[in-house]
């Protein structure tokens, strides 16, 4: 009996130890523990009534074996991919994704689709890749293309993209941001040109004239000044002032003033934001804060804080990709479409352009995934693209929102061009419903998108955030000296180490 107790204890200890060690062990590349790569999909393959099952992985397997196997009869290889899945608060988007997974599995029953609601975060991607826990297919932003490609954290999907039947119909404004040195590293989803979203009701309530869409910095300043009421805690505009968003917001003004973040010449990257244009843009921020007294006293606002303040009527204007604030205002803030005006960024003067930072969402494939997994992830990412099924899915989402008394906010820029055949089909669906938010055609014609910096974008934003905070908190700040100091820092710390080939 005692021996039995001893044996049980030892077994339990060994089990505990192996459990701990297993938990710490590395995964196979996608956060999926082993066991998925075997040919266990025979049962699925057998149940497959479509003719496509063996054309994807089966063909590869046949080719690799050098044989001319009857691919349709070969059991489809079991493949597991983990995909980007919306967070629990995005109920409608989750429903759309669930529907997509169901339809994808009908076509590819050998593929197990694992949902991952990890949202891309520049602060987490390093750990995710290091720990081999990034999903097979994950979302990212426009800024990250070059960074992910250089780090080897985005798979080179050039061959998959070149074999894609709709590759020529992808919207080049977006897709080109993830084509680096001729190689494709991501798939465009949707995008925006940063604009200014105005709470028109606040302007009306205070009797402030609504500026024209073709507005200038002076118009923005005067409107913000007129609507601000600091004693009541109401600001005219809430430029973001906390975290890297502050630098990102300000960069719009740098572009409008004709400035650049950096220049690339002769294989060398040089900081350029400390130009006259940069100084002019930072002086405009200084005017907003100290001359117009139009920004929040508590300017340490991140994206959520600033957009939240706008939706709550605590600030009249916010600078962001327009669909975000419009969604928050209509679907969470109880605003009406007529209370919201989406403006392009103002031009610096009458001769300027309404330039805004071009941003967007992309899907990236994990380079640690096997070729089969990468192929399936690509197929999943583009499964609904340019398809009538995808259109039906969008329409169902609009109808569901209508039932829920909510609005559908389309992206400003889609993965397809608006004037393409598919773009016209989508527009026809949007036009059928009164709960689809429609951007003014006038502002769409004024928008001028400019891509972000190619190198060390987040480092640049972090550095500019310090200058923005400095301007907002110190009236007597030496703007040119501050910009020169930042440019020197960026140059020595980052740009001097880059050799552009």
């Amino acid at each position: 009996m005692r021996k039995l107790r001893k044996a049980s204890f030892i077994l339990a200890s060994v089990a505990l130890l192996s459990g701990v060690l297993t938990a710490c062990g590395s995964n196979d590349g996608n956060g999926n523990n082993g066991g998925n790569t075997g040919n266990a999909g025979a049962a699925n393959g057998g149940a497959n009534d479509g003719g496509t099952k063996a054309t994807d992985s089966g063909t590869n397997a046949a080719a690799a074996n050098g044989g001319n196997a009857a691919t349709d009869d070969a059991p489809a290889k079991k493949i597991t991919i983990s995909i980007y899945y919306p967070t629990p608060d995005l109920v409608e988007k989750r429903a759309l994704e669930d529907d997509k997974i169901k339809r994808f599995n009908e076509k590819y029953p050998n593929v197990e689709v694992v949902k991952s609601d990890w949202q891309y975060n520049p602060n987490e991607i390093g750990i995710k890749m290091g720990a081999n826990e990034a999903p097979t297919l994950f979302n990212t932003y426009a800024t990250e293309g070059k960074f992910l490609a250089e780090r080897g954290w985005a798979a080179d999907i050039t061959d998959l993209f070149n074999g894609y039947e709709f590759k020529d119909q992808m919207n080049p404004i977006l897709q080109n941001q993830f084509i680096i040195d001729g190689k494709v590293y991501g798939i465009a989803q949707q995008g925006y040109v940063t604009g200014t979203v105005v709470n028109k009701k606040m302007l009306d309530d205070k009797g402030v004239a609504v500026p024209s869409y073709d507005w200038t910095w002076d118009d923005m300043l005067n409107t913000a000044k007129a609507v601000a009421d600091p004693k009541k805690g109401i600001s005219g505009i809430a430029p973001m002032g906390k975290g890297n968003e502050a630098g990102w917001n300000w960069t719009n003004f740098l572009f409008e003033a004709g400035g650049e973040i950096q220049t690339v010449d002769g294989g060398k990257v040089t900081a350029a934001f400390n130009s006259e244009a940069g100084a002019k843009a930072l002086e405009f921020y200084h005017k907003l804060a100290w001359e117009a007294n139009a920004i929040p006293k508590d300017f340490a606002l991140g994206w959520g804080d600033a957009v939240g303040a706008w939706a709550q009527g605590r600030t009249a204007m916010v600078i962001a990709g327009p669909d975000g604030p419009v969604d928050q205002g209509l679907n969470q803030g109880g605003m009406k479409p007529e209370d919201i005006l989406v403006y392009p960024m103002p031009k610096a003067d009458a001769n300027g352009k309404h330039t805004g930072v071009l941003g967007g969402d992309f899907l990236v494939i994990n380079p640690n995934a096997t070729k089969d997994e990468q192929e399936m992830a690509f197929k999943y990412a583009t499964f609904d693209y340019f398809s009538d099924k995808g259109l039906e899915s969008v329409e169902a989402s609009i109808q569901q929102r209508k039932t829920d008394n909510k609005y559908f906010i389309p992206p400003v820029i889609q993965y397809f061009t608006d004037n393409s055949d598919y773009g016209q089909k989508v527009k026809a669906v949007y036009d059928k419903y009164d709960n689809v938010y429609q951007y003014s055609p006038e502002i769409m014609s004024l928008l001028d998108g400019k891509p972000e910096a190619q190198f060390n974008t987040q480092d640049y934003y972090a550095e500019m955030t310090l200058n923005v905070q400095s301007v907002f908190s110190k009236k007597d700040v030496d703007i040119k000296a501050a910009l020169d100091s930042s440019a020197k820092k960026m140059q020595e710390k980052f740009y001097n180490n880059i050799k552009v080939e």
Binding site: F9, I10, S13, L16, L17, V20, C24, P122, N123, E124, G126, I127, M129, G130, A131, R151, G152, W153, P230, K231, K232, G233, G241, K242, G243, P296, K297, D298, F299, A300, G302, P367, N368, Q458, D459, A462, T465, L466, Q469, S470, F472, S473, K474
Partner: protein
């Protein structure tokens, strides 16, 4: 032979501590050792690491942000001592003197400790708002409102007030236990001799809890030197790096700049300093036990 006999005698004891040793080894000691190793490498988890010698140390020691963060951390530690250290002592002694409602006050004082930090930050953001209740009180006297969060002179102080409010309860319970363990006959004898409240506190209470005070003083130094949570969540180290602490800079080096080697070297430098404080704390707690 003797070793085998001793092993056989204590085999069950050794087996029982195996799981704990394994867990500590994997999740505590190995990361510490790896931190040391990584501080000498350029870390790239995907393409592979490369030896950097003292390169990471040179990088961080030439980074002006490191000195800014060090100064801010020392300032933060100082503020925590000046604003917060005495609060739990005063509360513990006051509560121990209460004849009624002692239990209620004890729970009430500890309550902020159980508030989730997200709620805490939202609450204090509202309290510190330019038109929030604190500023409303200030301006009712005809003075200008204070930018608690964005005035560089106020931002760190505001965070320390918030943290003191939240955290003093835990230390207070420790002090209270120490105060209540003082033999009551000492107080009775002092009272008979005509000692008032202040004399009793000065000559009985404080000398008795002196060792606890010193121990918690060292523990506070250790914990505040690693502070970054509220600085990151509320202000992300701003405005103008006014709340950028050393630990927050390590986080930024690791997770924003993705330079894990430099972040590890900063961690090692901090480890060396805190190691000294930990030894001091260990000696003090041994003395307390004795």
């Amino acid at each position: 032979m003797r070793i085998t006999a001793r092993l056989r005698k204590h085999i069950w004891g050794y087996l029982f501590i195996v799981p704990a040793v394994v867990i500590f080894l994997l999740f505590l000691w190995m990361p510490i050792v790896k931190g040391f190793v990584y501080s000498f490498y350029h870390i790239d988890f995907v393409k592979g690491n490369s030896f950097a010698g003292f390169g990471n140390y040179r990088t961080v020691l030439h980074d002006p942000d490191v000195w800014t963060a060090t100064k801010n951390t020392l300032y933060y530690m100082f503020l925590c001592l000046v604003i917060g250290f005495w609060v739990p002592i005063v509360f513990a002694i006051s509560i121990s003197e209460l004849k009624r409602f002692q239990g209620f006050v004890r729970v009430a004082a500890y309550l902020p400790n159980v508030i989730p930090v997200v709620v805490l930050y939202g609450l204090w953001r509202w309290l510190y708002d330019p038109v929030g209740p604190i500023n409303a009180s200030i301006t009712s006297f005809g003075t200008d409102p204070v930018s608690f969060m964005t005035d560089t002179n106020w931002s760190m102080i505001s965070l320390v007030f918030m943290e003191t409010w939240q955290q003093f309860g835990a230390a207070m319970l420790i002090y209270l236990a120490a105060v209540l363990s003082i033999p009551r006959d000492l107080y009775e004898a002092a009272e008979i001799d005509g000692a008032g409240v202040w004399k009793r506190i000065r000559h009985i209470t404080l000398p008795f809890i002196r060792n606890i005070i010193v121990l918690l003083f060292v523990l506070q130094l250790i914990s505040t030197s690693q502070g970054y949570q509220s600085q990151m969540a509320m202000l992300d180290g701003g405005p103008n790096q006014a709340t950028l602490t050393y630990a927050l800079l390590i986080v930024k080096y690791a997770f924003t700049r993705l330079d894990y080697g430099a972040a590890s070297s900063l961690g090692v430098l901090m480890f060396l300093v805190l190691g000294g404080l930990a030894v001091l704390q260990h000696r003090l707690s041994s003395r307390e036990v004795n």
